[in-house]
Subunit: 629 residues, 2 copies
């Protein structure tokens, strides 16, 4: 077993695709981590806005969460429709592009790409932030820990979908299990106590009210809470990853994810209200998260508390995985349509789109590194991208249904129309509420990506136009090329190249640049070394052309000679046959001039279409070289 | 005028060499800066050792300096002999190698190379150290200033010898002028005052005596003071840089440098004694250098004082230039003999050995950066290398004269023998006195360089043996190669490559790797696109070979096919003709797969001696492509 097979797994045959497909059990960790982990920060984000209302603010969390859950339900149902309609993978990009046209598709694509990069970076740094606040001695290593987790997630995903599913299963179910248990336990206590349970570990009292409740504040809290919905589109993008019947498995997976998420959100909101838990200022000393206070109030700060906190922390930092599952698929779809470099469309050794995966790792890593692992300020940004993609996808579905008929179509239009409307309003609300906090960056980045992708497609179209349909091969008037061999002296490498040149064409020139310390041996011995044997063999002898070099250049005179020859040599190509000595050990390469490589580069860039470069390698210490031709 | 001509000067023709040659006026700044600037730290280094003797130590500086000057005289006379005997450039390396054999030459070469790198780094950091102690606010930028000065010196030298001479003339003569004036002034005052002049700005009193004088302490002080002699060999290395008569101009230059240096050393020693100036502990607060105290005592701390200090500082930091003048010449000589990569032997556009210059810059820059611009600890090291080279050179001269006869030869043997003896003793003394302070590093580095250079020569010898004298060209049984064209689809680039392949050989194969989304168009249209026109032209049609790729690899199947063909194709080479689409703009290159480049690399490394690679470029947006063949 080779080292690469050990590290990255054996290469998978294209025909092994089915074995890599997954069911709901693995689908939930892979596509659901992002959505589920949002329960860890969504309610907290809404409650943080409500801090200024003091104890009076807590009551609003229940209606706000109900609104969020209603929105989630609309989005859920319409994504079910999308999966049904696009069993080949119906991400927002595909749906918007097919139904609303290229521009809408690219808008959705740009929004989603940004969303995924942010998801990856923010997910990891949120988890590490929680870890660091629990163990402050790790503070100086925060960036390193972030990048380490990023590397692990990237590595697991490079090993293929199946391996990733197994890897992420344990933390996901641990999280759902412990947080779910805590919430059920709390609900039971709350019901037993008539809605006013006594906390085991009492949360700190809410701060004083600093202002009165206003509609705008409630809207802002709602917008912040909507971050709980990011990641819901993940399943619809990855339908192809599921085993047959794909669409049914994907829908089942999505339904389970949403059900768990709704339960977590509802439970948290209800219990936060019941226990009177307000958010704490994250910048104040002794800060504690809402979930920490809540689990403490329900279960006390014993072993269970620590297991629950650890699982939240794990899932937060692994939530980045959803981006890793979807971003490469998204890039594949975009690249297949010609809007991204074509290498994004290729599947690597483990059948994942390795290039997109590496691009995501690089971008998220850069963000984490640039922000020193503290990406709090990015959190407000990424709901915009997600909701813009939602909206375009919903509108796309409305147009999709319009082309069908029957009651199913009408139900579709109704559902997706409602979804489109609600999510569009949410985009506007989130954008307005978060514009100055940084959402303007997104408002600039999305158009930038949009135009970049259009330019890439235009470029590919031009290339295709230029090289396409050249007509049949024309083999009339085939003339052998003029062959030019740059030659430093008479040695085994140049002899081999010259003989090879003679097999290509009867028209061979050897070009020699005369340098300051030239001993003239090449010119002196040319008759004996080349002309005499050519005469004996009845072949045309290669001509020796000497070129002066007053400025000691050794490459430019050859290039000039070749270009001059190419200009006069109508209807034929010029083949420059370069003898090259290849070292057996890499470190010995530094001991030789890089003239062959430089000459190749010069001819490549300046040669135009009329010069072909031929490398004839001569291997040191290799018997094969000498036995050949 | 192009940008590069503006920055680095117009390229100089090899025949313009004479115009770049210099006389003594430019020779003193170029080859003398190191020697002259040693007056700035040599006496101080000796006095620093004497600190422990308190006021009683000062008296020893005069006899120590007399010993140093005597040694200097011996070295001077024997270098005059060397220049006379080796008018083509008689560095220690050349002299030792020609007279004592390869090993002695390489020992001298290694010692000198280390010496020059240290000279460059220490010179700059000493100057910047003085600057920073005068203006402490610059402290945080010390490394940056060091690297900036290094870059300036490297740049000026890249512009050629003549330009460098002009650039370094002003600071050199300013230094000699002001320090010389100060010393003459002091001597006059001292004579007028009967040997006990009154200081204008009194130096701080010497510290208390901590121990009694011992022979070993005096020897150590002498060894430290010998750093004043580094740089003396510079002229002998660069004889070729002088205009005709080279040897006479070089000797005159050396004589002037030594005369000035002797005057400076003697004056400093005498006046330090007369004014009772002891060195201060460089690590103590309020540290002041010996020269600063001396000039202050003579002239007071007015404008003259500051001009003198500035010129000392300038010359110290520019003393690195001597290394830049000599190191590339030294590397050239070594490379010409095959002990260093051959590129060190080539002269760049301005007739300087650019590669050696850049190597020196890189190594000195690394030292400066690694030590944060504080290279005090390196100072003790570099006298060892210099004196080892002196000794080998002197011994070499003794053997040189032994082969001559007549009185001149006897005088030579006597003088160089004396020089050899004295400098050999000095090596031992310096090595013993400085061994634990770091000279052991030099004792390790010199042998390391020695063996590395031997290995390089051995490698070149092997290569030469392998490729040399291959006998005359053999043009019997010329058979056209088997030509293989990797082809992705039927487009203009592959059509051009295929037609070119047909001009090279009648035996052409097109290899196509079938990937997952292959539409089969290539196979379907092969008869129409290729076979029919070939039949019409009466030519043999290229065969289409389809290769499966279950793991989606696109390069390896082609490589495997080529290698298999090469194995079965006795007595012929295989020419792989690679169609390559060349973008008109560099940034567009990222939009295309690098498969052509990767395939080339694979074939280059694995192809052995039987595969030649042919690039047929197809230029986008370029009419030349389409008009050709």
């Amino acid at each position: 077993m080779s080292l690469s097979a050990l590290l990255f797994g054996k290469p998978l045959r294209t025909s092994d695709e089915r074995a890599e497909q997954i069911g709901p059990a693995a689908g939930i960790p892979i596509f659901g981590l992002d959505a589920l982990s949002s329960a860890g920060y969504g309610p907290e984000a809404a409650l943080t806005i409500l801090i200024v209302l003091g104890a009076a603010g807590i009551q609003y969390i229940v209606p706000i969460t109900i609104a969020i859950i209603a929105l989630l339900a609309v989005v859920f149902v319409s994504y079910l429709q999308t999966i049904e309609a696009y069993p080949g993978g119906g991400g927002s990009y595909t749906v918007a592009r097919e139904n609303l046209g290229e521009s809408a598709g690219l808008l959705a694509a740009g929004a989603l790409m940004i969303d995924y990069v942010l998801t990856a970076a923010v997910g990891i740094s949120a988890g590490v932030g929680a870890l660091v606040s629990a163990a402050p001695s790790l503070q100086p290593h925060a960036t390193g820990i972030c990048l380490g987790i990023l590397a692990i997630i990237a590595y697991v995903n490079l090993r293929g979908v199946k391996d990733a599913g197994v890897f992420f299963m344990v933390p996901t179910y641990l999280f759902v299990g412990t947080l779910g248990t805590a919430l059920l336990w709390g609900l039971a206590k709350s019901l037993a106590a008539g809605g006013h349970p006594l906390p085991v570990a009492p949360p700190p009292p809410p701060g004083p009210a600093l202002q009165a409740a206003s509609a705008w504040l409630i809207v802002q809290a709602f917008a912040s809470g909507c971050t709980a919905m990011t990641g819901v589109e993940a399943v619809s993008n990855g339908v192809k990853a599921f085993r047959e019947p794909c669409a049914r498995n994907a829908k089942r997976t999505l339904a389970i994810i949403i059900a768990i998420l709704v339960f977590l959100l509802a439970g948290i909101a209800w219990l936060a209200h019941a226990y009177g838990i307000a958010a704490a200022d994250p910048n104040a000393p002794g800060y504690e998260s809402v979930l920490s206070m809540l689990v403490g109030a329900i279960a006390g700060k014993g072993v269970f508390y620590y297991v629950a906190m650890l699982s939240i922390l794990l899932v937060l930092s692994l939530s980045a995985n959803t981006a890793f599952a979807d971003f490469p698929r998204l890039c594949h779809s975009i690249a297949a349509d010609g809007y991204l470099p074509s290498s994004f469309a290729l599947r690597g050794r483990r059948l994942v789109y390795s290039q997109g995966l590496l691009a995501l790792t690089a971008m998220a890593g850069t963000l984490l590194w640039a922000f020193g692992g503290v990406t709090d300020r990015l959190i407000p940004l990424y709901a915009v991208g997600a909701f813009l993609a939602f909206t375009l996808s919903q509108f796309g579905m409305v147009f999709h249904w319009r082309r069908k008929c029957g009651p199913a179509a009408w139900r579709g239009i109704l559902l997706n129309g409602a979804g489109a409307l609600v999510t569009a309003i949410t985009v506007v609300v989130v954008l307005a509420a978060k514009f100055l906090e940084g959402a303007w960056i997104i408002a600039l980045l999305i158009p930038a990506l949009f135009f970049a992708m259009k330019a890439i497609r235009r470029h590919y179209d031009r290339v295709t136009r230029e090289i396409a349909a050249p007509g049949p091969l024309d083999l009339a008037r085939l003339a052998p090329p003029l062959t030019i061999v740059p030659i430093i002296g008479w040695n085994a490498a140049s002899k081999k190249a010259l003989r090879f040149a003679c097999t290509l064409s009867p028209d061979v020139e050897a070009v020699h640049v005369e340098t300051e310390d030239d001993d003239g041996a090449l010119r002196r011995d040319w008759a004996a070394n080349v002309e005499a044997p050519a005469k004996a063999a009845g072949a045309r002898a290669p001509r020796l052309i000497l070129v002066a070099s007053p400025y000691r250049y050794v490459i430019l005179p050859v290039v000039d000679h070749v270009l001059a020859a190419a200009r006069t040599c109508e209807g034929r190509l010029v083949a420059v046959v370069i003898p090259e000595i290849v070292e057996d050990r890499w470190f010995n390469r530094f001991l030789h001039s890089q003239n062959a490589a430089l000459l190749k580069a010069f001819l490549y860039f300046q040669g135009g279409g009329r010069v072909a470069v031929v490398n004839v390698p001569w291997y040191l210490n290799d018997d094969r070289s000498s036995t050949t031709a």
